[in-house]
Amino acid sequence: MIRALLIEDHLYNRSLLTTVLERKGGFSVIACEDYNQILTICQNDQVDMVLLDISLDNIYHQGQPVDGLEICKAIKSNPNDIPVILLSAHALPKDKNTFLKMCGAQEYITKPILDHDEFIQTIREVLKESL
């Protein structure tokens, strides 16, 4: 079973994505909103991939708010880096390339997600490529 770490601060979107990943994809999902815990989960190989929102309101590191790009960079600075998929409502044409380049994530999915099957397919392809 694919194990996914979900970092999403919007209550309804978190509940929605957990349901879609579990029921459509058959994944097991951990949702987490604590900076240190996120990094521990990734270092200990507790998950196969990370789904990461960019604009986050409630995650802090050393008293400063951090966004998804900074979390992604921290995950990627580990030797055993795992695939990260950014999930964001930033939808300008240039946003995808800018953000992927800034943090080294594997894929960028724009909200709103219009087709759940396609969404799951994209995640599976990213996992296949990073094997």
């Binding site: 919007h10 309804y12 979107n13 509940s15 929605l16 994505l17 349901t19 879609v20 029921r23 459509k24 960019i54 604009s55 986050l56 309101d57 409630n58 802090y60 008293g63 400063q64 708010p65 966004d67 998804g68 790009l69 964001s88 409502a89 930033h90 939808a91 300008l92 953000f99 724009t110 909200k111 709103p112 997600i113 219009l114 759940h116």
Partner: protein
């Protein structure tokens, strides 16, 4: 001869009795038991079983057995036992020890279970359709079966097969009847003219018409007039031509209220191919319709707000065009100046000053352009976030990915709540846009601070009390004073700040302090709470609508949404100022507002 007649009478009575038992028993098992009893009156049948053959699965089941010496399984695959041999040959068999040995030597049967002395089995059913085998056996030399016993069993076997077949049909019919009676969808059966012959309890539950009221009526009692006559013509044409019709109705209940249904209506066709009835199976989809209509409305509002934002972008473009024209004029002026250069030292200095001003104007225009693009991008972001969960939950509902009716309700509630969030964001964005375009009118008058604070306390004290928070105001030296301000706007500002304070405070108090500084010309109102406070890293941006200090980062939004920036905009529109202070997380928050004491325009 007398004996023979007696025997025949006895057998005929037994067959009549078997036929009666079809009606007198509740289920197949009781019927089997009764048959066993009847056979027992005709011949010794202590060890007795009935085997049924399921052709499609090639399985033999033993629904009834009474055998003290052997345990018989519930079912098994078709093998090489004596039962299967009878099924295959379609002939009854008396297997005495010598016949049994011969059958084993010929390799047509195998020994299964405990060997009996005599085994006697007859096929049940007709030559064409054998449904099973009835068998008796003996394990005891005192009981030997003969051709006589075989004849008895053959005589009653046809009636037994018929009885079993009838009972099975009856059980199947009862199951079908229950399935309709207890169906979660409403079911209506009509005759060819549309007169109702049957409705199930779900129909009565949904429509309010009882079974008695519905029978003999026409389904048009549900008509609401919302569908045109053409709709019904099409429906009738479809089902009268023998085809199934599907679609949605908006119908009327007995109590007059409207509701939505999704229905399948199909003709019922008998063995001769004639239509005898129509059956409708309908599902109440009122809730789903409501959610669809709400989503439709929200999308329309979204489209309208988009138009408003595009207009703002137009304004920005016009500002840039003006700046470009101004630059063109500057270049022209430059040319003229070069010609006059030698005789115009002083003019030169003036020109440099003008050039500097124009540079600032151009920078300002570019900055305004950039801010507006960013505003647009961030508005798009803010609206997409709740839209994602609206679309997502509607898809989950469409794909029926819920696991219980409660979860279905939860998905609907989540979609509605997200729609509310979306509407709130749209309203906030429009407010911000209006403030930035200076389209909001203010109508300031002299207003007593005590009046304002009394009103806010009246509005908010019950919410504060619910959280066990103390909410009070304190006038310096108990001295009321007037500020020059718009009444509605100051109420909106104060309500927003006090609501925030209550929201972010779990225990303690919220204090409002007011004081006038007549010499400086302004009055001060402070909102202070003992809540969670604001992390130092966030204080700088707390009032910003979307826009970040350097504009290059990922544009994190203020945690309180747009409310605080609307508050700041309104405050500044009325000549006031606003500041927020906190010692950090857990240390409480203090918001300081100032407003002019009198009309500044008059004193100017």
């Amino acid at each position: 001869m007398v004996l023979k007649t007696k025997q025949t009478n006895k057998l005929q009575k037994a067959t009549l009795l078997i036929a009666e038992k079809v009606l007198a028993t509740q289920n197949l098992n009781e019927l089997f038991k009764a048959i066993h009893g009847i056979v027992n009156t005709l011949m010794p049948a202590k060890n007795f079983y009935i085997a049924l053959y399921d052709k499609s699965k090639n399985i033999i089941s033993f629904p009834y057995s009474a055998d003290k010496d052997e345990s018989i399984p519930e079912s098994k695959p078709f093998g090489k036992g004596l039962t299967e041999y009878v099924l295959k040959t379609k002939k009854s068999l008396l297997a005495t020890p010598s016949i049994f040995r011969q059958l084993i030597e010929d390799n047509v049967v195998e020994l299964i279970g405990k060997p009996s002395i005599d085994w006697l089995g007859v096929p049940l059913g007709t030559e064409k359709d054998i449904i099973g085998v009835l068998a008796v056996q003996s394990y005891d030399n005192n009981l030997r079966y003969t051709k006589h016993h075989l004849k008895i069993l053959e005589f009653v076997s046809t009636q037994i097969a018929l009885a079993i077949q009838r009972k099975r049909d009856e059980e199947k019919l009862r199951l079908l009847s229950r399935a309709i009676q207890q169906n979660p969808a409403s079911v209506i059966i009509t005759d060819l003219n549309g007169t109702i012959e049957y409705v199930n309890p779900k129909f009565s539950e949904i429509t309010g018409y009882s079974f008695q009221e519905a029978i003999g009526a026409n389904p048009r009692i549900l008509k609401s007039g919302k569908q045109p006559p053409k709709f019904y013509r099409n429906l009738w044409n479809t089902i009268l031509s023998g085809k199934e019709w599907r679609g949605e109705f908006e119908n009327r209940k007995k109590n007059g209220s409207l509701f939505w249904e999704y229905g399948h209506i199909a003709p019922v066709i008998n063995e001769k191919g004639e239509i005898t009835n129509f059956v409708a199976v309908k599902e109440d989809i009122t809730e789903r319709k409501k959610v669809e209509q709400l989503a439709q409305k929200r999308l329309q509002e979204l489209a309208e707000s988009r138009v408003a934002l595009l207009n703002m972008l137009d304004d920005a473009n016009q500002a840039r065009t003006k700046a470009e024209t101004a630059q063109q004029e500057l270049e022209n002026a430059n040319k003229t100046l070069t010609q006059l250069n030698q005789q115009a030292q002083r003019t030169m200095r003036d020109l440099e000053a003008t050039q500097h001003d124009l540079k600032l104007a151009l920078d300002a225009a570019e900055e305004s352009d950039r801010l507006k693009s960013e505003f647009l991008a961030n508005t798009s972001h803010e609206l997409r976030t709740p839209l994602n969960s609206i679309i997502g939950f509607l898809q989950l509902l469409r794909d029926k990915l819920y696991e219980s009716p409660e979860e279905e309700q939860e998905f609907i509630t989540n979609a509605i709540e997200s729609s509310r969030q979306l509407l709130q964001k749209i309203n906030d964005v429009l407010d911000i846009a209006k403030i930035q375009a200076e389209e909001i009118k203010v109508d300031p008058t002299n207003i007593s601070v005590m009046d304002i604070l009394d009103e806010i306390l009246l509005l908010k004290h019950s919410v504060a009390r619910e959280k066990n928070l103390i909410l009070e105001y304190h006038l310096k030296n108990n001295q009321d004073f007037d500020i020059f301000i718009d009444r509605q706007k100051i109420k909106q500002i104060m309500q927003n700040l006090v609501s925030n304070a209550i929201k972010f405070t779990t225990e303690g108090r919220i204090d409002l302090f007011a004081q006038a500084y007549p010499k400086l010309g302004f009055g001060e109102i402070i909102v202070q709470d003992t809540g969670i406070g604001i992390p130092r890293g966030k204080q700088k941006n707390i009032f910003n609508a979307f826009v970040q200090g350097d504009g290059t980062s990922s544009r994190k939004f203020g945690g309180t949404g747009l409310g605080l920036s609307i508050t700041k905009g309104l405050t500044e529109l009325m000549g006031g100022t606003i500041q927020m202070e906190s010692e950090g997380i857990g240390k409480g928050t203090r918001v300081r507002l100032t407003f002019p004491l009198e009309d500044l325009r008059k004193t100017k």
